[in-house]
């Protein structure tokens, strides 16, 4: 259904759907692709302009771009659009790909207490403390930039900071979070438009197209930070702003008036506003369609997390679709009733999607993947978007998967049927024997002190060397009944070796252990000589004895390795 127009896997673009647009920048009917590349720590942010199958030009940006919006800001002809780029508190305007001017968002009001603190502080400590107190009352974001920076600094850097910024005035800046355009008085593609801006301070401004100053009567104040913004209508007549916030509220705004339409269960990933309905993709990989009254029309879930959503308008066919970019690299096209009509797959997660005119082709899809490659696809003229009829009951027809049984199973069943009494008795007898064997082993272990169940001494042994001479290193530790506080030392212990004299010769055969302090390991060494001519291995027992007591405290067995044979 799609033709590959052009793709560049080395483009290394890091961008978001808000930062991709197309516009007829030269006025020649050849639409250019505008991508604002966010860049990383080492690569600066850039505005990239693509024409045809290649990069036409690049403009380095001052700061990380939040959104781009091509728009017409004058009535001159030929009609040439400008590119507006929102970056932190500025709106940069580029005309003919050259910087034209920049506008600043209006600064926010400064708290009077804070102004007083800065006006009459006597020492750095008191200034810091006062600001800290103020922060705990009104919050970090209500302070000026200078105070915010001062509060984040460690003590030794504060002085130099204050010196460096002695003369700078106190300001509270606003930050752009999203951009959109709204046509002013004519509903044509190249009509004069106003810029609509959402800010970090939970406001929405409409800027005057010529002066770029906020129009006061159109300012909206929200309860949360706007993330996605879309517009409909004309500014001079009547218009609607649809906006979602970070916490997942969907708001409808008009001139100087805003009201929540509904709150979404999860924060949205993308929003597409249509004439009478709103399609929202949520963080939980569902696509939901709501009517403009706020009732849910349908919901479907995607196979993997959704990364972006874009409206697809096919004007010649009078058809509207929604393109959904997924984390598994698919771009799916859905009709407005929620049926999937087509899927394009890429080999990387989708990062940004755009559908619109590029070059002279009005149905182009631009897709940027997470790895930074850029793909442009053109819709075939013969493309058919009628959704396939899905059989609802198709799933129920599948047979129940019952695990099959083999002939062996049947044979065993027959055998059991005939001999069940014998089998049962054999099992009972063996079960009793096993219990008996377990009990006997336990008694044996307890009697020969092989298990350190209630003992207060821990033994560890290691064998060094390849043979025929070995060194056995024994570590003894007093772990006490309550090891740690309150446990006492142990004295009068001895290590005793027990070995087969056909295999080994051990010296010394007995080691006297000094007074053992709790939780300290004491190490001893014994020399073991293998006297077996074939180098066969055997077991050496280490017995821990208390003096004048026949019962051993602990017995450990050392499995000796086979010895090297000396010729």
């Amino acid at each position: 259904m799609w033709l590959d127009a052009f793709s560049d896997t080395q483009a290394t673009i890091y961008t978001f759907p808000n930062c991709v647009a197309t516009a007829d920048l030269a006025g020649d009917g050849d639409y250019r692709l505008i991508i604002a590349d966010i860049g990383t720590g080492t690569i600066p942010s850039k505005l990239k302009i693509y024409k045809g199958t290649g990069l036409q030009s690049e403009v380095t940006l001052q700061d990380v771009p939040t959104a781009v919006a091509p728009m017409f800001i004058d009535n001159d002809s030929p009609r040439l659009p400008v590119i507006t780029v929102g970056t932190s508190e500025y709106i940069y305007v580029y005309k003919n790909l050259r910087p034209f001017f920049r506008a600043v968002l209006p600064p926010l009001q400064i708290n009077s207490v804070e102004r007083d603190i800065w006006g009459q502080y006597d020492s750095e400590e008191t200034l810091f403390e006062l600001l800290k107190n103020l922060r705990s009352q009104i919050g970090m974001s209500a302070l000026t930039l200078k105070s915010q920076h001062l509060l984040t600094l460690p003590q030794h850097e504060r002085h130099s900071f204050l010196e460096a910024h002695k003369g700078t005035p106190l300001v509270r800046k606003n930050i752009v979070t999203c951009l959109s355009t709204l046509r002013k008085s004519h509903n044509e593609d190249d009509a004069l438009a106003c810029l609509v801006i959402g800010t970090e301070n939970c406001e929405i401004f409409v800027l005057h197209p010529e002066t770029f100053t906020p129009i006061d009567e159109a300012k909206l104040t929200l309860t949360d930070v706007p993330v996605f913004l879309s517009t409909a209508g004309l500014f001079d007549i009547d218009y609607t702003l649809t906006c979602t916030t970070r916490s997942g509220q969907l708001l409808i705004g008009r001139r100087g008036w805003v009201s929540p339409l509904l709150s979404l269960s999860k924060p949205p990933v993308g929003v597409v506003c249509l004439d009478t309905s709103i399609i929202v993709a949520l963080m939980d990989a569902t696509i939901n369609c709501y009517s403009d009254k706020g009732s849910r029309l349908w919901t479907i879930s995607a196979v993997s997390p959704i990364t972006c959503l874009h409206r697809v308008q096919l004007r010649q066919r009078n058809l509207e679709l929604v393109a959904v970019g997924l984390h598994n690299g698919h771009v799916s096209l859905y009709t407005l009733s929620g049926e999937c009509t087509d899927t394009i797959s890429f080999n990387e997660p989708i990062s940004a999607l755009y559908f619109g005119q590029y070059g002279r082709e009005c149905n182009s899809m631009v897709c940027v993947t997470q790895g930074g490659s850029l793909h442009v696809k053109i819709l075939k003229r013969s493309a058919d978007f009628t959704p396939e009829l899905k059989e609802k009951g198709a799933g129920a027809m599948t047979k129940l998967q019952i695990p099959k049984k083999t002939k062996l199973f049947v044979d065993q069943t027959m055998r059991e049927r005939e001999n069940s009494i014998v089998m049962h008795r054999a099992f009972q007898r063996d079960a009793f024997r096993m219990k008996l064997a377990t009990a006997r082993t336990l008694v044996h272990v307890l009697n020969t002190k092989q298990s350190p169940i209630q003992e207060s001494v821990k033994l560890s042994a290691e064998v060094l060397g390849l043979g025929p001479s070995f060194v056995v290193r024994i570590g003894v530790m007093n772990i006490g009944p309550k090891s740690g506080v309150g446990s006492t030392g142990i004295s009068d212990l001895a290590l005793f070796f027990h070995w087969n004299d056909k295999f080994y010769d051990v010296s010394p055969p007995i080691i006297h252990v000094p007074f053992l302090v709790p939780s300290v390991e004491v190490k001893f060494q014994a020399k073991v000589e293998s006297i077996n001519p074939n180098g066969l291995a055997d077991v050496i027992r280490v017995i821990v004895l208390r003096k004048k007591q026949a019962q051993p405290i602990l017995v450990a067995m050392i499995n000796m390795p086979p010895s090297e044979v000396v010729f």
């Binding site: 978001f16 966010i38 720590g41 600066p44 380095t60 940006l61 990380v64 939040t66 932190s88 508190e89 910087p99 034209f100 001017f101 920049r102 600043v104 968002l105 209006p106 922060r135 705990s136 009104i138 919050g139 970090m140 974001s141 930039l145 915010q148 920076h149 509060l151 984040t152 460690p154 130099s160 460096a164 700078t168 930050i175 979070t177 999203c178 970090e200 770029f212 100053t213 906020p214 993330v227 916490s247 924060p267 990933v269 963080m283 997390p305 959704i306 990364t307 997470q370 799933g395 129920a396 599948t398 998967q401 019952i402 049984k405 059991e416 049927r417 069940s420 089998m423 049962h424 099992f427």
Partner: protein
């Protein structure tokens, strides 16, 4: 850049912007350290939008990387970066770290009610319900308007603390400010916790009036009606739940289990097939499917299904009980013994399991242990009647008869007679009667005396004894007829739990 740009008038700064060749805006650490020496201060929250976008797209690794860069730049004092980091930690299951980050957020923005709510949520997830309630109350103080969500969450806290009255109060408040089906469901849960199914049904009925198309509410209501024994209403509610959501597993399983209890195995199996599409790993569904096949006398398929159920849920005594029953039926007494003992080990108070175990042991030729098992079954049945006492004692009698303990068998048979005599309303199955009469006749031949010899035969009076040919698998040997009675039990004992 110069600083006079903070007046709101647009200024023609063409020259300034064109000097973009110099590589500013590099967020390397070295630059960050010396950053405050520059004239212009960077806004602390100018990358919040970026963090947010990565977060909602679930690109948590990239998101964390940016957050750590931001935290380094701002000495950890960025409210939004910490907030998102806390949410990511929570989704990774690191509850305590998440809570710590949220505390930092709260310190930075003490007036933000949302942070307090998230702190409460973290405390709730950590199981510290008391503290969570305090935090929610604080959030309410910061945000004056009555909030349905906060009340609902507080209600859930109280529910977990088993303070049902307080929980109910908060759920009511939540419903007053906004009607949600979640709150209704919590109310119903409270009612069920108070052992009042009728009240829960009432709450769900109210919820259905508000949300007539919510399949979840409808199916819950249907299941409650089932528990209350109102199968007709339950069926209609579950039917409408399925009409709105044909794939709703809960409603489908409930309907299928209902069909199964009314012996409509084919329909039930068709429903289970649908459910299997969505939940192929449910031990209960496999168990029920197995018992459906058992009802249809397809024993190999039945064993297969039950074994899968057992594999999925090895500690479910019901599955083990059914497996035991099935093996008993397949005359695999040694296997039956193992499954039944396993079931008893998990749930030692079921007299029916003990009866089956007794039958198994009796076939394994160990009459003394069989007697112990029967005695235990009778003891448990006195405390909590789950097994038909006639069948229990009759099985006991047959087992004793099979082991040639005729006088004890006679005693037990007299006991059966007494039970039937005393409990007038007892319905006795045809097969049980048949067996009773066979054992009796056999014992009479050995000249044992029965109390009902003289009067009209109590048991057969009224009902004509069915002709032998109609009884499936009727055998002349008593041994096999015992099986028959067990078989009857078996079908009566389908496992309709899981709902």
């Amino acid at each position: 850049m110069d600083l006079d740009s903070n007046n709101s008038k647009p200024i023609e700064t063409t020259a300034e912007v064109s000097s973009t060749v110099q590589p500013t805006n590099q967020t390397t650490v070295a630059n960050l350290k010396s950053h405050h020496k520059k004239a212009e201060l960077k806004h602390p929250s100018n990358r919040n939008w970026l963090i947010h976008l990565h977060y909602v797209r679930r690109e948590f690794n990239t998101c964390k990387q940016i957050i750590f860069e931001e935290l380094l730049r701002l000495n950890g004092q960025s409210e939004y970066a910490n907030y998102i980091l806390a949410l990511i930690y929570r989704s990774e299951g690191k509850m305590q770290e998440s809570l710590d980050k949220l505390q930092v957020c709260h310190e930075l923005e003490p007036t933000n009610a949302n942070t307090v709510r998230q702190i409460a949520r973290s405390l709730f997830l950590l199981g510290r319900h008391k503290l969570a309630i305090d935090a929610y109350q604080k959030a309410q103080m910061l945000n004056e308007d009555s909030d349905a969500e906060t009340h609902y969450n507080m209600g859930m806290c109280f529910l977990f603390m088993m303070d049902l009255d307080k929980a109910k109060e908060h759920m009511n408040l939540s419903l007053q400010s906004r009607v949600t089906h979640k709150a209704f469901e919590a109310m119903a849960q409270i009612a069920i916790a108070k052992n009042s199914i009728q009240e829960a049904i009432g709450i769900y009925e109210k919820a259905v009036r508000v949300f007539p198309e919510n399949a979840e509410v409808l199916s819950n209501l249907g299941v409650l009606y089932m528990k209350a024994g109102r199968d007709d209403i339950a069926f209609s509610r579950l039917g409408s739940a399925i009409a709105f959501d044909p794939w709703n597993p809960k409603a489908t399983v409930a309907v299928a289990s209902m069909l199964q209890t009314y012996d409509d195995y084919d329909q039930a199996l068709a429903k289970y097939k649908v459910v299997m599409q969505t939940m192929p790993d449910s031990a209960s569904v496999w168990n029920n499917v197995g018992m459906c096949f058992f009802g249809k006398r397809k024993y190999v398929a039945s064993i297969s299904c039950l074994k899968r159920a057992y594999y999925l849920s090895p500690f479910d005594w019901k599955i083990l009980h059914n497996l035991g029953l099935l093996h008993l039926h397949m005359q695999q007494y040694a296997s039956a013994f193992h499954f039944l003992t396993a079931s008893i080990n998990l749930k030692p108070d079921q007299s029916h399991t003990f009866m089956l175990l007794a039958v198994a042991i009796s076939h394994l030729d160990d009459v003394e242990y069989a007697k112990h098992a029967y005695e235990q079954a009778i003891r448990l049945n006195i405390q909590n009647i789950t097994t038909d006492p006639v069948n229990l004692v009759l099985n006991y009698a047959v087992s004793l008869f099979n082991h040639k303990k005729f006088s004890e068998s006679h005693q037990k048979l007299v006991e059966v007679y007494n039970i039937i005599e005393n409990g007038s309303g007892v319905i006795i199955e045809e097969d049980s009667k048949e067996i009773y009469h066979r054992v009796k006749t056999a014992l009479k031949l050995m000249e044992f005396v029965f109390p009902d010899d003289n009067d009209q035969d109590v048991i057969t009076s009224g009902a004509v004894a069915p002709p032998a040919a109609t009884i499936p698998g009727a055998q002349p040997r008593k041994r096999v007829t015992t099986q028959q009675s067990v078989d009857q039990q078996a079908i009566g004992n389908l496992d309709p739990d899981l709902v």
